[in-house]
Symmetry: D3
Subunit: 263 residues, 6 copies
């Protein structure tokens, strides 16, 4: 089975730089795939992407060696399994707030006896190799999003779920849940302490910690802190900022503002 290079990097203690896709186009996905990211995540939750486009984007990413991940809209087995069968090498699942939710999520990603994923890796086998079915459980990665006070409370119960590879922090929802306002690239010491806590618990259980960020600076800081998967902006966020900068320079004035959110 084709190596999961993200898992290999993690095994070597390295941090991966993840790109993020929200534009529903196989061409923008292919263009992003040639930019040097270690992995690319097709965001089916907040990105404007449905299953049929996600499939085409998985093909586009497969023209390179970049590791294809997908974030699903919700913790629902149907779409999780469809994306794995289509060749995603890892799934990011939003809003995992309890051990039961984490178990349901991880189970959907694993063949029996470790889980309840149904056998039929139609495109995955073409992408990964004929031994996919026997190797997938140890190759495919599972990432649970930690983004509520409830999840924080249950963090130890969540990260200790057998088969969970990583937690991925959603800073906007997490800060909204904890403080009532949306924050990203935290500066608030209390929120930074929360990140430390999650990281420490994850590391204790040999689970990787990842985080969504809005700037290279914060992303690098997070890597230094021990996070091994960081995302910086997205296809549309990068395009929007660059377009705005260009128009501003051309016009000497910004006509309108549309702040990027980390999601």
């Amino acid at each position: 089975m084709r190596e999961n290079r993200l898992k290999s990097m993690w095994g070597r203690g390295e941090a991966a730089v993840n790109g993020w896709l929200q534009i529903p186009s196989a061409w923008s996905a292919e263009l992003m795939a040639h930019r040097g990211w270690d992995s690319l995540t097709i965001d089916m939750q907040h990105g404007l992407i449905g299953y049929e486009t996600a499939l085409l984007q998985l093909q586009a990413i497969s023209t390179t060696e970049v590791v294809p991940l997908a974030r699903v809209p919700w913790n629902e087995p149907g779409i999780i399994m469809k994306l794995l069968d289509a060749g995603a090498y890892g799934i990011i699942c939003p809003m995992i707030n309890s051990r039961a939710e984490a178990e349901a999520f991880v189970g959907a990603c694993r063949y029996a006896p470790e889980g309840y994923r149904s056998v039929g890796p139609t495109r995955a086998r073409v992408y990964a190799g004929d031994d996919y079915q026997t190797q997938a459980n140890k190759t495919i990665i599972t990432l649970a999003m930690i983004e509520t006070a409830e999840a924080l409370e249950n963090i130890e119960a969540i990260v200790s779920v057998r088969g969970l590879d990583a937690v991925y922090i959603g800073p906007a929802d997490l800060s909204l849940s904890l403080t009532g306002t949306v924050q990203v690239d935290y500066t608030d010491p209390d929120l930074l302490a929360v990140l430390d806590t999650i990281l420490a618990v994850a590391q204790k259980h040999h689970v990787v910690a990842g985080i969504h960020t809005s700037s290279v600076e914060f992303a690098l800081k997070m890597i230094e802190a021990g996070f091994q998967l960081v995302t910086v902006s997205s296809d549309s966020g990068l395009m929007r900022a660059a377009a705005e900068a260009t128009v501003t320079k051309m016009k000497g004035t910004v006509k309108e503002r549309d702040d990027a959110s980390p999601y």
Copy 2:
């Protein structure tokens, strides 16, 4: 944040005339959006519309000031949140039969602490404005369909759920559930009495009542009764009837009949 004109109309005590989209095309959606409806509902339940087309239709509607609503296929958080992030200004959720179901539905439409919607209004922010995240909870409208005997029994418990803006009556399912046969544009006094009951309970709880109809006559009658959201036919229903009338006149005979249902 861009005003929700439907909510404003309701606040002024007015009734809104809602159009209904079942054809999976952004062009038919744009054409309908220019016809003068107060709102247009993308019907992802009984309409032949998937997420990727719904997104394009939301864009098409946004070429006008018509309020974009969507009916989801079922009470599932993934699709509800995706449609809100894509810019729907209200969600109609079918088959809300209990308080718990109503709470789950409304929660999916509201950011913490009022609900559990995840932050990331990718297109919604472009459509509505940069303050979307802080204003959405009081701008986006939630409409629970009342269409079973069980819902009728629980009507008070449902309409009293905090954050529910409206109930929307599905007369076909409701009559099937209550009488065993499908009826629309009720004439049966018992069914009309049921409408009165729902309306009265809704009004008591300051919740708007809406209803699906099959004729201008019945729709006007419902407005007079106090309903503040009425739907008359759909894009395909209108086209079908007009085409049939044209062929009939041309041929002097109807070759085939395909009765429109209100859904």
Copy 3:
């Protein structure tokens, strides 16, 4: 090979009632196909339809016995042959102004030695039967649009092109060319006389005459005059008018006007 029912009707001296598709959706096409039209034309010229949707619409029409026609964007062999291979049973070609243009058009629709259509009726053979290639030249119909002063001048040279089955009048372009203003459902005696002329020349050469109209009344009048293919409105025109009527009745006022043109 499956019968071309339009050709059979014409052979019996009957007039056919043609429906018109401008909405890019296979579902609206299927709905229209069940309404009793004798034929349906996929309008790739002024309709908002590209090749990939046209193919799906040909499939949708094939769920019924309605004869599938297509109007091409222009007299270009590539798209004409693609539509025939996809199963169109007739092609309406716009702006045929000279004998040379008519020959180029008809040649693209006919296999050698009658024309230069390339062999490969991939879907056509599935739709029509295995003897398609040998029978197509006498089954597929060709319709040249007459819609300019130049075409009128060359009408005899055009209708006498071997293999041309019908002329189809585009009243909007024709009136613009002849009078400088767009008219449909002519009342001007001079324009009506032009229709008579075209009809007479066509009939003299055993070529069918068809015409685009905007009302049942004018269409019936044209049939009475001898036209054997009439179109009345379109999928979107019918939907638009019906929606407008509904909103007007509901609101007591027309909010906006968007006159249907016959094309």
Copy 4:
């Protein structure tokens, strides 16, 4: 309402030969529909097919008399009802492991009072006829997949659910669950005995038994054993094997191997 020919065949004690669609294309679906299968299943679980393509494939199949079935990604009411409204004449639901799951599945396929399917058969009525709503409960077929040890344990409780028409065996998942390895076209006597058991229990409850196979030989054997719905390979499996054979013959060597799985 249009007859469900599969149900009629079963009523006459016959076995049906089912084709299987995994390629997301309405054209490959139409081509398959002309090959003589009794029914065709659109595989939305392991096939690379989303809702919007499934709809187009249902139209493509409707150009013939082949019975259209769909396998849903998971036991979720939203997608089940959408496919029925789009005209599927039967639903195959994966991973039915308990009576409760079977009841939830069957209920989603039946109108009240037999189930909780919502009324609005938009395309189904066009495909099947105007009496669809009153006849659907006895015409549409429901097929529960039996593919785990748990399901085997609960087989009697599952097949006795009122309204369940058939069980459909997924041999790959079933063998993985029972033996830890994926097997198809069983030769292991213990697994063959399991098939016998399921068949016997199904027949006892007047429920049809179907099975997925990988070869004509095994499929014929299963029919002889009493199975009344057998699937042999799929559109992509057939294409892949034929392409591989052609290249091998041309090149005198197989360049790469990509074993077909039954799913």
Copy 5:
């Protein structure tokens, strides 16, 4: 008819800043439309965009006041007219090398008697208003690309074609034709002199001059020189550069280089 703001700007002697779309997505188009460009060009020549996507992008742009333009793949009447009917407010036509080619191009954009565009502005009328047909000839703009030695030789004959609004310089093709190598943002004095020549001839004939550039600096310089339409980069070019910069900063090394071309 809705004003063509580009034409108004030109009338006031202003220069317009044009954005460029090469990603086939209605969402990236809508995002770009909110960035403050005066106009956006859908590039159907070198962009990866077919007609069906172009239509959706025209809708997306119509959610704003940005002027929608399209560059066609070639000087072919079919696609030019389809884009105008879909609501493009101007057409950029590549490789206009002679007066005859310019006349054919402009004629395709103008209704009789000024040209041979066929009447049927299906979406254009909805976008622009009911008087579209009578006002279009003076509202829609035509832009001929000057990008070969032959065009340069014929520049006076080209710009004097009645109805041509602007020339648009393609520096890559022009330099390849003149010097044998591709250059953009010229520094070579001979090439800069060619730009001056084209600009001077255009201005003499009251035709606007526009140019494609690769940097804000060169674009501003061109505006200062008298060009009234400048394009800087594209959706994909901006995204690519920003992504590359991000990865470089994250990784401390550029993994791969993929230079943007001005087209």
Copy 6:
């Protein structure tokens, strides 16, 4: 620039085995790409494939090392250049009957001064490398279809066009033109002699000869004769034949026949 492996094979005197795509799906294209063909041709002429699908198929093929070719619908510069910009490594152009047509075709594939292809290889550069523009003229291959009596008459004038790499015989059209009936895998000595003639003239001018066939046997015979590019069947042809064989074996009878044509 990425090597054109077909050109390399030809340079070594080898014959290439070409696969053929007619199903409009990126997934069937990717499946075919993994089967060991030397090249795959996206058939936009008789295949049911439009530009937007062709682009996705080029991406799917790029997940492997298979050389991507495309057959265009007709000798029209717009679509030829679009496919090259999208990454096709060679173009097959139908119905090249004269030297002028061959020159127009080849010119559309070559940058100045060898041709008139416009610069802007948007995806081609990502697929092939940053030096694409300077290397494309000698890397991209051009294949002119010889398929009429007229072409045969002009064969020497055609193959001597500078920049033409290969001729590709379309046996169905060629036999129809020469004999009045469609034949493939010729047995008629006169037709076989025609193949010899074409091959001899091509070889004399150092131009490769290729041919479409319907069987491995004839394809191998053609390779032995000196043809260096042979196509055997297509994705849909292979699937259809395999499905038919399966149903026949299952049912003991062929229900219907739908002969594959070589195109």
